[in-house]
């Protein structure tokens, strides 16, 4: 596991975490169906800190053309059947990876135990490149991971993504709508296919949350 300031780079300790973040950016910018999986620590407005981290995460999303955002709002098994476009779940994360043909993903805001379960299962059963931006000590089961990720560091990650994207000559859409909706999200948003992530910036009141990505209270009721 990395010490503060370090990262994990495909199983090896990397003394300079910026190198790990740059590789994260390259993978997210070049892999088919790159996806950010925000977890409960970002999706629920527990406190102002959670809200700020969620906003900073959207800044990362804003740098990745065609990126998808699929939430992990809770850790309960989904029944009778998971909709892999709606949510990812630690009890069957491989279904979401397979169902959306995701080849690179970032986990952020997931409690460490459930992140580890999820990362292990994805690693064992898919060819997806897994990345974890962790608020604690990082994740040995992620191919790329950084640790101690508070709001300041997440904002720095967004800046590094911007730098790498510009170095690679990858442009963002002029209207700022770079996040690609999943099918379920598209239905919720009247058939729109893309959106500007910064318009989803949450507030302490909770107007932006899992619900904004199609995971409504009605959905949860349906799940039992």
């Amino acid at each position: 596991m990395p010490d503060p300031g370090q990262g994990l780079f495909y199983g090896l300790l990397e003394p300079n975490e910026e190198k790990v973040i740059e590789e994260m950016a390259r993978k997210m910018l070049t892999s088919p169906n790159a996806t950010i999986f925000p977890g409960p620590l970002l999706l629920w407005a527990w406190n102002d800190h959670a809200v700020e981290k969620a906003k900073a995460t959207l800044e990362i999303a804003a740098q990745i053309p065609q990126v998808m955002i699929i939430p992990m709002p809770d850790y309960r098994p989904k029944y009778p059947k998971i909709d892999p476009e709606e949510v990812i779940n630690p009890n069957h994360p491989n279904l979401t990876i397979w169902g959306n043909k995701i080849e690179a993903c970032i986990f952020i805001g997931v409690h460490c135990h459930y992140a580890n379960l999820t990362l292990k299962m994805i690693r064992a059963g898919t060819n997806c490149c897994t990345m974890a931006i962790c608020a604690e000590q990082g994740h040995e089961d992620a191919m790329l991971t950084i640790r101690d990720s508070d709001t300041v560091k997440i904002k720095r990650v967004a800046q590094i993504f911007k730098k790498v994207r510009e170095e690679m000559g990858i442009k963002l859409p002029d209207n700022g709508e770079n996040v690609r909706f999943t099918g379920t999200q598209s239905k919720v948003h009247g058939g729109k296919t893309h959106t500007n992530p910064t318009t989803f910036a949450p507030s302490p009141g909770g107007t932006g949350s899992a619900a904004m990505f199609g995971h409504s209270p009605e959905n949860m009721k349906r799940e039992g």
């Binding site: 596991m1 409960p40 629920w44 709002p73 809770d74 850790y75 309960r76 098994p77 989904k78 029944y79 009778p80 630690p90 009890n91 069957h92 994360p93 491989n94 279904l95 409690h111 460490c112 135990h113 459930y114 580890n116 379960l117 292990k120 299962m121 064992a124 059963g125 608020a135 604690e136 000590q137 040995e140 949860m220 039992g224």
Partner: protein, 447 residues
């Protein structure tokens, strides 16, 4: 711990050591919680490595009580069973003094372990203690704690578990605890009991660990006997549990993401991927592995080695067997034998790498134990297989309440070094590279 930090031990007019573990006299007007309210929070680093200590002469149960006094415990649940009853009774005294926030007696051990699970899941710091049959009665709950990632400290004051009923010391129950995914320490004496419990809370609650810690000791030998214990001032305590940064969310009965009282738990296996339980188990044991660095940080390592470098033979022991082994080392020295001692403090995680390094050139290893099955000898043999050609004598073993004369250990060292056949250890319990398999086969055919 430097001697300079130790204050002089107090004695009464007869010269006997007196202790400060008893409840202070009250005039009836003083707030009984006043001292507890005045406790100051210090960092674990200060508590374990820097705080001045005073030496007192107390029992293991009193040492556990004093550890709890300084550990900022929220919830303690008791159910009496010998030889643990006095320990939790003393923790109850702490509740009366305000050092423990909540305390009650459970219905029996199933209820106690379930209550500890509930308390830990809801985010508070929990402690309990049990022994022998109580451990096994509570085992379903205990074995589920690691899977639920529940930090807590449980003290096991080991005693006989099997029929016929007895209350005597015997640490067979450790064998049942080793494979349930919790961290397991084995205390040799009252000092270990004090230190391991406090360190246990700090290690248990680390985010990348988030596991229960079991602190075992050999009942009566440690719980009821007195020993010197160096303790920090009772006016300081560990920081409270920061449940919000645990590896799992705390239980909220009504709100996601852990709305367990209403939602199907993971046992709804038909709605889960086939391999969730597999990765779950991997994660629990990965967390056990991740605790190693914290054991080094707060306890100074998973084992201690005395006189091992260049020794002809090494005794490897845990718990009370260490004290007997230390005396055996002294007797061996008088006989001109150069013998070392390795004291295993952490059984889970097990100090595999350390033992491989220490035992690489050793010719003879003797593993005395206070149980019939020899769980430590098996652990040692498994750990060093292929890394040492040492002959491993899995014994002597005493059980059912027997004491262990140090001469038994000395005999095994002497016979092991001279090639003389042992009179106390069965050939089937002798392992390692220097063992003649034909002799063992003959023995097994003959019994």
């Amino acid at each position: 711990m430097s001697e300079a930090l130790e204050a002089q031990q107090k004695t009464n007019p007869q010269g006997d050591p007196i202790t400060s573990v008893a409840a202070p006299k009250s005039d009836g007007k003083k707030d009984p919680h006043a001292d507890a309210k005045r406790q100051k929070i210090v960092t674990p680093e200060y508590m374990f490595h820097e705080a001045p200590r005073t030496k007192e002469f107390i029992t293991g149960s009193e040492a556990a009580k004093e550890a709890i006094r300084r550990s900022n415990v929220d919830l303690a649940v008791a159910y009496p069973i010998t030889p643990q009853s006095e320990t939790m009774q003393l923790v109850g005294v702490l509740y009366g003094e305000g050092y423990v926030k909540e305390y009650y007696r459970g219905e029996e051990e199933v209820g106690v372990m379930a209550a500890i699970a509930g308390g830990s899941r809801s985010g508070v710091r929990c402690f309990t203690a049990t022994a022998g049959p109580g451990t096994l009665r509570g085992m379903e709950g205990i074995a589920s704690w690691p899977g639920h990632r529940l930090p807590a400290v449980a003290m096991f004051t080991c005693r006989v578990v099997n029929a016929p009923l007895a209350i005597q010391p015997d640490n067979i129950e450790v064998a049942y605890l080793l494979n349930c995914g919790m961290i397991v320490f084995h205390a040799e004496n009252q000092q270990d009991m004090f230190d391991f419990i406090m360190a246990g809370f700090a290690i248990s609650e680390k985010n990348d660990v988030t596991l229960p810690v079991g602190v075992c000791c050999d009942g009566f030998f440690v719980t009821h006997a007195r020993g010197y214990v160096r303790m920090q001032d009772r006016g300081i305590k560990l920081p409270p549990r920061e449940a919000w940064r645990g590896a799992v969310p705390v239980l909220d009965a009504e709100n996601p993401p852990a709305r367990l009282s209403r939602d199907a738990p993971v046992q709804k296996s038909n709605f889960m991927a086939y391999n969730i339980h597999a990765v779950w188990q991997q994660e629990v044991w990965a967390a056990v592995e991740r605790s190693r660095k914290y054991i080094s940080k707060y306890m100074g390592g998973m084992l201690t080695a005395e006189n091992v470098e260049g020794a002809d033979a090494v005794i490897i022991a845990s718990g009370s067997a260490c004290a007997q082994s230390r005396e055996a080392v002294r007797l061996c020295k008088e006989k001109g034998l150069n013998v070392g001692l390795i004291k295993v403090r952490s059984l889970r995680p097990f100090p595999t790498q350390e033992l491989r390094q220490l035992c690489g050139k050793v010719k003879l290893i003797v593993v005395p134990e206070f149980n019939y099955v020899g769980w430590l000898a098996k652990e040692v043999a498994t750990a060093i297989y292929g890394y040492s050609k040492a002959k491993i004598i899995g014994g002597p073993r005493v059980y059912g309440g027997q004491s262990m004369p140090v001469e038994l250990i000395v005999d095994e060292v002497e016979s092991g070094l001279t090639g003389k056949k042992s009179t106390n250890v069965a050939l089937s319990s002798i392992m390692g590279g220097a063992v003649n398999p034909d002799e063992v086969a003959h023995f097994m055919r003959s019994i």
